[in-house]
């Protein structure tokens, strides 16, 4: 009855969370890092809202493989189509998650992937259209050790 058991996964997750919280020296991206990436790509061009949607869970079931789907409204014609979509996470060591390139031949601008998230953070997706206009959207994904529900 007095032996110490092994540290559980739940505890290990707690450890991870605590370690992150306690290690200010550990490099992590933030909103500014995402802004810097966007500036590198698009300079001072400001994205509009709408057209682009991302589907991510509100709370990740497993931070190691978080599903993400992105879809952009577009007729996908030669003149009017989506060229690229970039996805960023503002709390990972490196903010870049994925980049998708589209052509009119794609028929629609939709893609899915899995990403690894170290902690609760915002996911930002930005689409560049053939005419150079930009659209972006953001959604928070919570990474938690879990509660003991209902």
């Amino acid at each position: 009855m007095t032996s110490l058991t092994t540290v559980s996964r739940r505890d290990a997750l707690c450890l991870t969370a605590a370690a992150l919280a306690l290690a200010p020296g550990l490099a992590r991206a933030d909103a500014a890092a995402v802004e810097a990436e966007l500036r590198k790509l698009y300079g001072d061009r400001k994205p509009g809202s709408g057209k682009i949607r991302i589907d991510v869970p509100q709370i990740a079931e497993n931070g190691l493989v978080v599903p993400i789907s992105v879809e952009v409204e577009s007729p996908m014609t030669e003149k009017d189509h989506v060229k690229t979509v970039h996805v960023f996470a503002d709390g990972n060591p490196l903010p870049g998650i994925a980049s998708f390139r589209f052509t009119p031949a794609c028929g629609k601008a939709a893609a899915s992937a899995r990403m690894r998230l170290a902690q609760t953070q915002n996911i930002v997706a930005i689409a560049e259209m053939a005419d150079g206009s930009l659209f972006s959207t953001m959604s928070e994904v919570k990474v938690t050790i879990g509660g003991c529900g209902g």
């Binding site: 919280a21 589907d55 509100q58 079931e61 938690t144 509660g147 003991c148 209902g150």
Partner: protein
């Protein structure tokens, strides 16, 4: 919130509130005489009757269940039902203090009222009520829907892998169910049961992790009273986070609000006159869903164990909340014409076990399932001098028994016990039986671990669980109540932000502040980790009670709620 007055003004509801039930101010209840006739009294309305049960937690026989005295709402839910308790709740619904419904719905004067009004629930009583309503209304107008958390959390359900409760529920002939704790039986067992189930387990929001295919039927169309009713199932969206994912490793959950909208539209496209969401989201999530997903007429809510004597209306959507552990069944009569709800009448029907004649067939089935375990169930472990209960946002007196037991039996400095909303109550002077303890602990991952954690980790755990309950956006809430803690006191500000809600963590043994860098010996149970080792929690609590013999509940709490 939709206030009582607004509901009245809406016209639809006036009949539901007063004329139909006569419950809040009914003479029979004011006189405190309960009869089965009073409990069943209902003037039928319209063409369809929905019957709603939720969160039975495998309670076959009547129990004591004290409702929370603290159930805080945050964000938009602050001060809105179901986050109103005690006297405020009685005032809001004009329920006389000391009446049967005051006993059933609040913690006010619980111990003494319990002696007057007796235990609540019992599937044999529920069967009587359901049969009576079907007989009066006509079976072809009734739809019985079960929101889940039905198959687990009693000793007999644990021993029979839910066979007892599944057979009893089958006798009630539900038309559909959805689920949450059911999944802790493991995917194989759930599939085995659902294959033999005479009604569907509906869940639009469960996918296989590889190809995102739907695992369960998302919805089903029923016809009752000439009305085409689409029932869409919504399993608990955060099952894979709140419970061990390894038990159903190939299933992914989530809210999937966009998909839900599509389900509603498809159902309407197929000619549904009425769309019902059979939901295990929890009340606050469903309140938000009702405001965002178009075209749902009724949400049958669950998970958060709220019992509300009136529907809550959000736009055109009615939210029904039916409580837990078999205490209630909701009856909702609907007048559906031209694909619209033209009127409704509702009653939260209390299952007062002393006033309702048990259904003989169900009683016999329950007795047959309990017989092999009766000796264990009745085994007396100790006695309590005061009221023991769990339900509430923060540590209850029954939780103190669990956290104290872990400190003593596992020789720990600090103990952690999950804030689950199930687990009944015990009255002052009552013997504590093995059944009482397992009703608050029977689960498939009961090991009581012993480990060390740094103070910083304890803080991280408390903050994380605090955010699960008090995140101002209900879509980010995991449900349940705050983790229960032994050996350590703390302050919590529900209206803080993650990382800033918990303060003044104190090691009670010395009175010193918790040291972020010191290792503490911690015992806890219900870890979602694979390979957690230790004796089942009911053995730990049983050993403690057997040694102690008598429990005297503490009056003071080591948890201080601040920022209110």
């Amino acid at each position: 919130m939709v206030s009582r007055r607004e509901l009245m003004q809406a016209g639809l509801a006036a009949s539901a509130l007063l004329a139909g039930s006569g419950l809040s101010a009914g003479r029979a209840f004011a006189q405190q005489k309960l009869t089965q006739g009073d409990i069943l009294r209902f003037e039928p309305l319209g063409n369809v009757t929905l019957l709603h049960v939720a969160d039975i937690h495998a309670q076959l026989v009547p129990t004591w269940f004290r409702e929370p005295s603290i159930n805080l709402g945050v964000g938009e839910a602050k001060g809105r039902v179901p986050h109103i308790t005690g006297k405020d709740f009685l005032d809001l619904y004009q329920i006389p203090a000391g009446s049967p419904m005051a006993y059933a719905l609040t913690a006010e004067d619980f111990a003494s009222l319990a002696k007057n009004y007796g235990r609540m629930g019992g599937l044999d009583r529920l069967a009587t009520i359901i049969k009576a309503i079907r007989a009066e209304r006509g079976e072809n107008r009734c739809l019985l829907l079960d929101c889940g958390d039905t198959w687990t959390n009693s000793w007999t359900s644990l021993q029979t892998k839910a066979q007892d409760i599944v057979e009893c529920m089958n006798l009630l002939k539900p038309d559909a169910m959805t689920a949450h704790w059911e999944f802790t039986l493991g995917a194989e067992r759930v599939e085995e049961i659902t294959r033999s189930l005479p009604y569907p387990l509906l869940a639009q929001n469960i996918r296989d992790t590889e190809f995102e295919d739907k695992v369960f039927e998302p919805r089903r169309m029923f016809e009752r009273g000439g009305v085409r009713i689409a029932v869409i199932g919504q399993a608990y969206p955060y099952t894979a986070i709140a419970n061990p994912r390894r038990m159903f490793p190939k299933w992914a959950f989530g809210l999937r609000e966009d998909e839900l909208q599509k389900q509603v539209e498809e159902a309407r496209g197929e000619g549904a006159d009425l769309v019902v969401l059979l939901s295990h989201n929890g009340f606050d999530i469903d309140h938000k869903v009702a405001g965002r997903v178009r075209g749902i007429d009724v949400i049958l809510t669950s998970h958060t164990h709220d019992a509300l004597p009136e529907p809550v209306r959000v736009g055109q959507t009615l939210l029904i909340a039916t409580g837990a552990c078999g205490k209630f069944i909701s009856r909702l009569d609907l007048d559906v014409r031209a694909k619209r709800v033209q009127g409704f009448r509702h009653r939260l029907i209390p299952i007062f076990s002393d006033a309702i004649e048990p259904d003989a067939e169900m009683a016999a089935l329950i007795a047959r399932h309990r017989a092999p375990y009766e000796k264990d169930l009745k085994r007396i472990l100790g006695r309590t001098e005061g009221l023991l209960y769990r339900r509430g946002n923060f540590q209850g007196s029954l939780d103190d028994v669990f956290t104290d037991a872990m400190l003593e039996v596992r020789d720990a400095e600090i103990s952690l016990s999950p804030g689950m909303r199930w687990g009944g109550s015990l009255l002052p002077g009552q013997d504590i039986t093995f059944e009482d303890i397992t009703n608050a602990s029977a689960m498939t991952y009961p090991q009581c671990y012993r480990t060390t954690m740094k103070g910083a980790m304890l803080k991280a755990i408390l903050e994380d669980i605090g955010d699960n309950i008090f995140n101002p956006d209900p879509y980010y809430q995991g449900g349940g109540d705050m983790v229960r803690v032994g050996g350590m006191g703390f302050s919590v500000n529900p209206f803080g932000t993650v990382g800033n809600r918990i303060s003044n963590m104190t090691f009670l043994k010395t009175g010193a502040p918790i040291d972020a860098n010191r290792d503490y010996v911690v015992a806890g149970w219900a870890s979602i980790n694979e390979g957690t080792q230790g004796p089942p929690i009911w053995e730990v609590v049983g050993q403690y009670l057997t040694a102690r013999k008598t429990i005297t509940p503490r009056n003071e709490s080591a948890v201080k709620v601040v920022g209110l």
